[in-house]
């Protein structure tokens, strides 16, 4: 019961925040609602007993990435952006795609209902029961033992992107 209430609360908050992010005219307001969405998602992690993900979500997305977002938004001349038309004439494409996605999701839910939970695609993910070992250790083990190669490759990819951005952004180093 508590969990359900919390789930609907956080999920609703996330969706509401997401809608407001794209409809707000002021970029800083959008950023604030994006933060709300990210926090609500973090809350969802918490209801799933994934407290490490919850904290990492806040540290990385809210405390790190969003700060940089806001930083950049502040450097941009907002007055100009406010007077620009934010929506263009591709509304019908977006609408079509949205409807397609909605239909897809509805179909998925309906299929899952009819096939039952054993279906491989829609089966509830295997949630490890809460063990004595916190999921910090579990995630650490997964990342640094089972999946260490992909993890490192992803890190190098990010590093390359970072260096590339610096090189392109800075005229002279």
């Amino acid at each position: 019961m508590t969990n359900e209430i919390l789930f609907y609360f956080f999920a609703g908050l996330a969706v509401l925040g997401g809608v407001l992010v794209v409809t707000m005219r002021n970029a800083v307001h959008s950023a604030v609602f994006l933060i709300t969405t990210l926090l609500a998602t973090a809350g969802l992690y918490l209801t799933l007993n994934a407290e490490f993900l919850f904290v990492v979500q806040i540290i990385l997305y809210v405390g790190g990435i969003m700060v940089l977002f806001v930083f950049v938004i502040m450097l941009v001349n907002l007055d100009v952006a406010l007077h620009q038309v934010q929506f263009n004439r591709q509304t019908w494409v977006a609408g079509l795609l949205s409807f397609a996605l909605l239909a897809e999701l509805l179909a998925a839910v309906a299929l899952a209902r009819s096939y039952g939970e054993e279906n491989w695609l829609f089966a509830a993910p295997h949630v490890p029961t809460v063990t004595a070992e916190g999921n910090t250790e579990q995630i650490g083990r997964l990342l640094f033992q089972n999946y260490v190669i992909p993890f490192e490759i992803a890190s190098i990819l990010l590093l390359v992107a970072l260096v590339g951005a610096v090189v392109m952004g800075k005229k002279r180093i």
């Binding site: 800083v28 405390g63 790190g64 700060v67 910090t136």
Partner: protein
């Protein structure tokens, strides 16, 4: 439904009470840290500091609070009202929420999360938004520059601070605040003696994280008037102030827990030093005695009365500290004395902040970033690698812990020396090219 609500309430009643307690004592705490700062500042600057409101200015925080609350609430016309309103609230929210995970004593702990330390780190990183959004919403150049500076500063120093915390975590092997202290009780060493470099980095980084001098660039009054707080006044300004001072207490608490043995008495494991158990009641008794001694010197019966009340409060604190020394109350002793030692250590840490503030000039912004990126972050990375190596050498290769720590410490210090030398060379060339 009602039953469910009742069940929830009964299940979480203590958490709610704890939350209310935090909300109630939090402003008072910040207020008295401000008083402490003003008194310490006055002492270092050959002055007396607040002396008027209450004896020795003891009621000054209350007077300040009343004054700030009844002040006119000004929102600049061109400000973004909603965000202007939201920003200080966010700051205070982050400050207050951190208190939930701080273990004041083995018994005085609201939530023993298994990710306690990361939780505090995450919540305090949210505090940046209070500053950034407040600076933006004010719609003033000073505020905006203060906000930009602070966000750049906080983001860069967070890396070093996080790394410094990791060096402690590697040794303790847990993120739970309570277990970290228990690890230190068990191993017999405060982590500051095992990872001193980590502690120093944390100390410097936490000064920058809380925007205190010599890293108080976001609010450098000689350059940016008051930085992000320039347009704030009255109660909203007080909220920022509360957040700043409570952040000081929070970083102090984290440092105390992680590096300074939390609620443990100095030499907690050594029975030869058990006489230190008498220190808490004796210290409080001394304070009580001083208050009583000062009563006749106060002017006016009201000042005398307030002084007597403070003497009474000190005495009331003394009694449980003394009573738990009685045999058979050992369980209580750990808690009560733990709180005393914890608060004493946090205040010591805060005192270092104040000391630094009144001694050092302010860094320039590029110099501040240089300290962070050229010295602290590389050193913290070396330090983490060193500590990790020491842990592996000890646990996997079976080295003597002292030797493994010593070796890695020497390597880290050499790296630090090299960094400083490189920095000096860089400065020299910069000076030459300028001249």
């Amino acid at each position: 439904m009602i039953q469910e609500a009742y069940f929830l309430l009964s299940k979480y009643i203590w958490q709610i009470v704890d939350g209310l307690v935090i909300v109630a004592i939090f402003p008072l705490l910040a207020g008295y840290v401000v008083l402490l700062e003003r008194k310490v500042m006055a002492d270092m600057q050959a002055r007396l500091g607040p002396m008027r409101v209450g004896p020795h200015g003891l009621l000054q925080p209350l007077a300040d609070a009343v004054k700030l609350m009844i002040k006119e609430d000004i929102i600049p016309e061109s400000a973004d009202r909603a965000i202007f309103w939201l920003a200080p609230v966010l700051s205070v929210f982050a400050g207050m929420l951190s208190f939930a995970a701080i273990p004041v004593g083995p018994g005085f702990l609201i939530a023993d999360m298994n990710i306690g330390l990361l939780f505090i780190f995450a919540v305090s990183s949210m505090g940046i938004f209070g500053i950034v959004l407040g600076g933006w919403a004010s719609n003033s150049h000073y505020s905006l520059m203060g906000a930009l500076r602070s966000s750049a500063q906080l983001v860069s120093y967070e890396v070093a601070v996080g790394m410094a915390m990791v060096s402690g975590l590697l040794l303790a092997g847990t993120l739970s605040m309570k277990d970290i202290v228990e690890y230190q009780a068990h191993s017999g060493f405060w982590l500051v003696f095992v990872a001193p470099v980590g502690f120093v980095i944390y100390l410097i980084g936490s000064v920058a994280e809380t925007n205190r001098a010599p890293f108080d660039l976001p609010e450098a009054e000689s350059e940016l008037v008051a930085g992000y707080m320039t347009e704030y006044s009255g109660f909203r300004w007080a909220l920022y102030f509360l957040a700043e001072y409570s952040n000081m207490v929070v970083v102090g608490s984290v440092a105390t827990t992680l590096f300074l043995g939390g609620w443990l008495r100095p030499f907690a494991g050594t029975h030869a030093m058990d006489f230190l158990d008498f220190a808490p009641p004796l210290v409080m008794l001394g304070v009580t005695g001083y208050c009583v001694y000062r009563i006749p010197k106060q002017t006016g019966w009201d000042q005398k009365f307030i002084m007597a009340i403070f003497a009474g409060i000190c005495f009331v604190v003394t009694v449980p500290l003394a009573v738990v020394l009685a045999p058979g109350l050992a369980a209580w002793k750990a808690g009560v004395h733990g709180a005393f030692w914890f608060i004493a250590k946090v205040m010591g840490y805060v005192y270092v902040f104040l000391w630094a503030r009144f001694t050092f000039p302010r860094y320039r912004f590029d110099q501040l970033m240089q300290v962070g990126w050229h010295y602290l972050i590389p050193l913290s990375i070396v330090n983490v690698m060193g500590v990790a190596t020491a842990v592996v050498l000890h646990r996997e290769a079976g080295w003597n812990p002292v030797v493994s720590i010593g070796v890695t410490l020497v390597v880290t210090m050499l790296a630090a020396l090299w960094l400083v030398r490189a920095g000096e060379r860089r400065e020299q060339t910069a000076l030459k090219s300028a001249a």
